[in-house]
Each structure stands twice: as C-alpha cells, then as structure tokens.
C-alpha cells in the first residue's frame, strides 16, 4: 500500500527513500553512542546522584533553623534545586532506562523510585510508552497538555478554554498532581470505559505513592524543626511549587512552542522507522542555555535528541546535537530551538490564541507516510 502523503511544508521536497535514509543515519548515530558508553558516563550519573543527595541533606539540615530568614532562603533554594535534579536529570532519565546498561540495581529503571506523585510503574507506561510512541499525534499522545488545554486548532473548542491561561497557571503550580491524576484517566468513568471500582483502586495506588511524600515534607521535617516548624513547612511547600513550575515550563517548551508540528492519527497510519524519526524531529523543540541550565532541565533542553533516542544516557545528548542539526540541514528539515523565555512566550501565546474558538488549521501538518509493505 503506497501512500502519497499530504504535502507538508517541511517534507514536500523529500522522497520516501530520503525519509528512510534519515532513519538509517540516525540509527547509526545511536549505535555509535551505544558502543561508546562506559566508565565516564557511569561516573557522571553517580556524580549527579551524589550532588542531589548532598543538596537535599544540606537543605534539610539548614531548614531545621528556618526561623532565621537567611537559612530559610538558602534551605529553600537548595531544596528546590535538589528536587528539580531528582525529578529531571535523575528520575525521568533513569526511568527511561538510560542507565540500565550499568546493571546497577540502585540506578535502574525497574527499581528506581522518585519524589513525584505518579508511581514509577505508571509513569513508564503513560510517558515512556504512550507519549514517546505517539508524540504529538492529536488524540493519541496522552500528554497532559492536550486534554486539559486546547493546544491545537484540531482540538474542538469548548467554553472552558476561555479560561485556559489561568488553568495553565494553576496546572503549572500543581503540575505533578495534575500529571498523576490525569494518568488515572478518570474521564473513562464518565464514558463508562472504566468501572468506579477500578478508578478507586487507581486513586488508592496514587494516594499510597503521594502520602509518604506529603508526610515527609509537611509533617516529619516540620516536626523535627521544632520552633521552625511553620517556616520549614512553608519552605518545603515553596520548594515543591517551584519545582512544579520549573518542570511544567521546561516540559511545555518541548512540544508546544511555535514551529513544532502536530499530527493526526490518519497521517501517521503507515509510519515507518524513518517516518517515526522525522515525526520526533518535527514534533519537538530544544532550549538554548548553559551546561548548568541543561542539567537543570534534565537535558529536556535537548528534547529533539531525547525524542529521537529516549534511552541514550542524557549526558550524551549535547554532543550529538550538532550531528542531528547537520542531518536536519542536509535534508532541509527544521530544527526548532531558542532560549527558554522566548520559547515559553510562544507557548503562552498559543494558549491565549486557542482559548478563543477557531477552526481546524488551514495548513495540515502531516508527517510523510512511507510505504511499509504492499498490502
């Protein structure tokens, strides 16, 4: 079954063979990194783990005297930094299996747990599988953005979208809970696709994951702080909110800024390996910044490289980025990138624009389909 793909501004000039060749080149790049993983990479992830633990220990100790304002400030900053590192460069990437090759059960996708509301097991399904496989396919990518907010013309407008700038701000503050609740798919109960009992079971599992973290941040450490109990509680809340806002901002800059393509299910029906790669390229956007900035985003600043190769160690994305750009240039494909503030502004603009009713986009944004097999 050969399929002449609908014209895409970025893909019109490429043949099916070109698309497959891009796949071959990207596979070769991936193999190159796989073959060179070694001691230095292991040392890197251990260093990040150690840094996180030192920062967290330092923060908790400092906050024991958080009644003293400089201690509050320093402790809160350290704790927020630790929590960002833990969620992004550690949790997200380790759960992707980026470090499984070390065979260390203390740094492995099947044993790692994280300071996040979503149980690690559920995350691996909703994120690693659904989001990474069906990236930016409207209706299939279970990325939270697509169901709470209207981020594409192809999504039906509903009156509550008028408030979506405000909804986005609230979502940003409580991002981890938003993500976790969303993963439970409560809407399926309304559509009678899930029993109330099953939903209750999933909520129970979520509560089991969330409760110890709430107890830790809002009961145990405040209690240990004695006279500083209230200020420590405030510090922990601030750190959690700051972490949420930061992760939300970085993550929304990955797939929703201007220049990022969205797709429909029909457009990707017969996608090949090369087509999948190209969809990841067109459907992701990078962020520019310093090495420290990259670490603090968990290298989601290399969202394009991460989406091409979700299980390569994150510390290697930076070095392959010029090679990916070179491939994009050679094949005349866009490579979307920009500084955080600029990119997030375009996201906010999109949210604002789409809060008003508008028809489906005039220009369809398909990925080129290539023939799989004659049917």
């Amino acid at each position: 079954m050969t399929s002449a793909a609908p014209a895409h501004p970025s893909l019109a000039h490429l043949s099916d063979a070109d698309i497959e060749q891009i796949g071959v080149e990207l596979d070769a790049l991936r193999d190159e990194v796989l073959a060179s993983r070694g001691e230095a990479d292991a040392a890197y992830i251990r260093k990040v783990i150690k840094t996180h633990r030192q920062l967290e220990s330092g923060a908790r100790a400092t906050l024991l005297v958080s009644l003293f304002p400089p201690a509050w400030l320093a402790g809160t900053a350290m704790l927020a930094t630790a929590k960002v590192l833990e969620n992004m460069e550690l949790g997200h990437n380790i759960l992707h299996g980026q470090w499984d090759w070390m065979r260390d059960p203390e740094v492995h996708s099947t044993t790692w747990d994280w300071d996040h509301a979503t149980p690690a097991e559920d995350w691996k399904h909703s994120h690693n599988y659904l989001h990474h496989t069906y990236t930016n396919i409207i209706g299939k990518d279970r990325d939270l953005g697509y169901s709470v907010l209207r981020l594409s013309e192809d999504q039906e407008w509903k009156p509550y979208h008028l408030a979506q700038l405000g909804i986005n701000a609230g979502l940003s503050l409580f991002f981890e809970y938003g993500v976790a609740l969303y993963d439970i798919e409560l809407e399926k109960v309304l559509h009678r696709e899930m029993s109330v009992r099953a939903a209750a079971g999933r909520l129970g599992k979520l509560w089991k994951k969330v409760r110890p973290q709430l107890v830790k941040d809002y009961v145990m450490w405040p209690l240990l702080s004695g006279p500083s109990a209230v200020t420590t509680l405030g510090a922990n809340l601030t750190a959690n909110l700051a972490r949420n806002v930061w992760t939300h901002t970085v993550i929304f800059c990955g797939h929703f800024p201007d220049g990022v393509a969205q797709f429909s299910e029909e457009q990707t029906e017969n996608e090949t390996r090369g087509g999948w790669y190209v969809r990841q390229l067109l459907g992701s956007a990078n962020l520019e910044g310093s090495e420290l900035f990259h670490v603090m985003t968990g290298r989601l600043s290399y969202q394009i490289e991460h989406h091409l190769f979700p299980d390569l160690p994150s510390n290697r994305y930076g070095e392959i980025s010029p090679r990916v750009q070179e491939i994009c240039e050679r094949y005349g494909l866009p490579y979307t990138t920009g500084p955080l503030a600029k990119q997030y502004l375009t996201v906010l603009r999109r949210i604002a624009r789409l809060s008003l009713p508008s028809g489906p986009s005039d220009v369809p944004v398909p990925v080129r389909r290539t023939a799989k097999k004659a049917a």
Binding site: R37, G38, E39, A40, D41, A42, A43, K50, R53, Q54, E56, S57, R60, G97, D100, W101, M102, R103, D104, P105, E106, H108, S109, T110, T111, D113, W114, D115, P212, Q213, V215, K216, M220, W221, L224
Partner: protein, 345 residues
C-alpha cells in the same frame, strides 16, 4: 551498629522515596546494603597482597548487612568494569575475615588482581555453599590450581580451633613455586603431622590420574573427600567415586557449570521489554541486555537465579536436557534458550 540500624529502619519517613542508606552511604559507603531488594551489600578493599601463580589475595571489609560465613563457603563479588557491573563467585579463604584469593584470568578476576586498588568499594552477595568442614572420619582434600582456595579456608578455620585433624591434601599445580599458599600449606604440613600435604607438580609429572590414587592415598575410600579444581579433575573424581559407590562421601565445588552444550534463540525479558539473541546462558544474555537478573553461584547450585518462564523452552547446559512449561522456575545460570523464549523478569 545498633543506633545505625534503628536510624535506617525508622528514618525512611524522612528520606522517602529513597532510603536512609542512600544518605548514610555518603558518609561511609559501607553504611548501606542488604536492606530491600535494591540496596546491595558493599565491601571495601582493605589490602591486596600478591600470591603465587599470578593471583592475589584481597582483604575485604564488608558493610552493613553482612551475615558472616563458614570457612569453605563462597561469596558473590560485584565489580564494575567500564561502568558495567559484573559478578563472579570466589571461595572465602579466611575464617574470620572476608578474604578472597583470585587468579588473574578472565575479565573480572583480572580486574580484581590488577586494577583494584585498596579503598575500592565492591558489591557482595551473602556467603553461601555447603562446601564446608564436617568432622567425623578422616578427610581428603583433592585440589588443583586455584581450587585450593576453599580448602585453605577450611584449614585456616580448623587451625584456629586447635591442632589439625587427620587430613590428606593432594594438591596439583604447575610447579612448586606456582602453588598458591605454598609456604603456608608446607608449614601446616610440618607443624601438624596429621595433616599431610602431597604436592603434584604437573609441568614435570603430568596431570593426576585416578589410577595413581591408590598409591598416593591408599586409604582414600575411608576418607570424607572434598574436591575443587578444573572441570576435568572434577569429572574424573566424580566418576571414580561414583563407580566405587562412594559418591555420598564426596563434596564437589564448581566455579563454572560443566557444559555439555547449549541451545540458542531469541530471549524476551517481559518486564523490561528487552530482547537478546543468545547462544549463551539466559543469565548472561539478560545481563548483556541490561536486565537486572537475579544471580548467585552462577553454577547451578544455589537457585538464586531462578526466574519464571513465560513461554518457550530452555536447555540445561550441563545435561543437554530440554524442558520448560509456562510458569516453570528456570535456573538462568545453567539454562540456554532452546529456540525463542520469554522470561518474567
């Protein structure tokens, strides 16, 4: 340790989703381990000394969670090479301290002998194995090469309790100065007459054959026998004892399974989604694919490596037997795939 134990047990409310071990080990890497399935026992290399035949003895200080051992038992040692964890088993050669004597052959042993400085933190599995001393009748130790290590563990354990009992020790090595623990064994021979060391230097005298046994150890039939060494020796001794109807008096220690032949196929690891085309053991195939495979003795004895089979069949590399139905627990260290199969790990 009492206070540490309490801290570790109670403290997880303060450290969740991590364990107190994870933070304590920043102060001392040995303050972590043995708690929960994912925190491994650790040991620090305290001293390394050279031994004969390109081997070295490593003195290890085990961390929290180490339950001790009996002389003659073995221990799993985890070593990181090129960022990747590798496991091997070694006999414990000292009754009170955790010491292993390693011959520098192969990837892991070579790393331990030549590139493991004092201070290195290794991972440990609990001591295991029933190759341990049983008093009663007179004994025969039949060892060759680095197979002397569990015997040395037992001898040192016995010496601590008093004079050595009636033990004949028939040991093979290439030459006199290739005998690991040579001076110490000869000293025991000189000090405790009931312990008799018979050295066989194979470069000059050839490999030991069972037909020589009657001359070298006339009363071998009366003795409780422990044998450890290369596969050829183990096989010859096992056959000889079995045909004499004495196999219940024989204790055999292997470090690799005796391989008859394995199959091959595509192995799927259901929980991680990894796949590997393998003609090796399932354990090796999983480890190479980055799957967290449980493991123990790596020679088919301890059942520390069993994993449920989901589909397909496996072949026991020691016997060539093909077996397996969905749900069977298979020993991954001595099983190879027989065609495509899937494991629940």
């Amino acid at each position: 340790m009492g206070l540490l134990d309490t801290l570790v047990r109670r403290g997880s409310a303060l450290t969740t989703p991590f364990l107190p071990d994870d933070y304590l080990s920043m102060v001392n890497p040995l303050w972590s381990g043995g708690r929960g399935p994912t925190r491994e026992l650790r040991a620090r290399v305290e001293a390394v000394s050279r031994e004969a035949a390109g081997s070295a003895t490593l003195v290890l200080k085990p961390g929290l969670g180490w339950d001790g051992h009996l002389p003659g038992q073995y221990v799993g040692v985890g070593v990181e090479i090129g960022g990747v964890r590798h496991w091997r088993t070694y006999s414990l050669t000292s009754p009170d301290r955790v010491t292993i004597t390693v011959k520098g052959l192969g990837l892991v042993s070579n790393q331990l002998v030549r590139r493991t400085p004092v201070g290195t933190v290794l991972r440990l599995r609990p001591a295991a194995g029933d190759f341990v001393w049983r008093s009663g009748r007179p004994a025969l130790f039949l060892t060759a090469g680095s197979g002397v290590t569990p015997a040395m563990g037992m001898l040192r354990g016995l010496v601590r309790r008093g004079p050595l009992p009636d033990i004949t020790h028939l040991h093979s090595a290439l030459a006199r100065d290739e005998v690991i623990f040579g001076p110490e064994l000869r000293r025991l021979h000189a000090t405790y007459p009931p312990y008799r060391l018979v050295e066989r230097h194979t470069a000059a005298d050839g490999l030991l054959t069972m037909s020589e046994l009657d001359a070298l150890v006339p009363d071998w039939r009366e003795r409780e026998t422990w044998v450890c060494g290369p596969a050829g020796l183990l096989e010859a001794v096992s056959d000889h004892w079995t045909s004499a109807g004495l196999s219940e008096r024989l204790h055999v220690e292997r470090f690799t399974p005796l391989v008859v032949g394995g199959g091959s196929g595509l192995v799927s690891f259901a929980r991680t989604g990894a796949q590997a085309q393998a003609d090796s053991t399932l354990l090796e195939a999983g480890e190479s694919a980055g799957v967290l495979m449980p493991s123990g003795c790596r020679m088919g004895i301890c059942f520390g490596c069993v994993v449920p089979l989901l589909q397909g069949q496996v072949r026991d590399v020691r016997t060539g037997d093909v077996h397996g139905e969905p749900g069977d627990l298979v020993q991954t260290c001595i099983s190879s795939p027989e065609g495509d199969c899937a494991l629940d790990v």
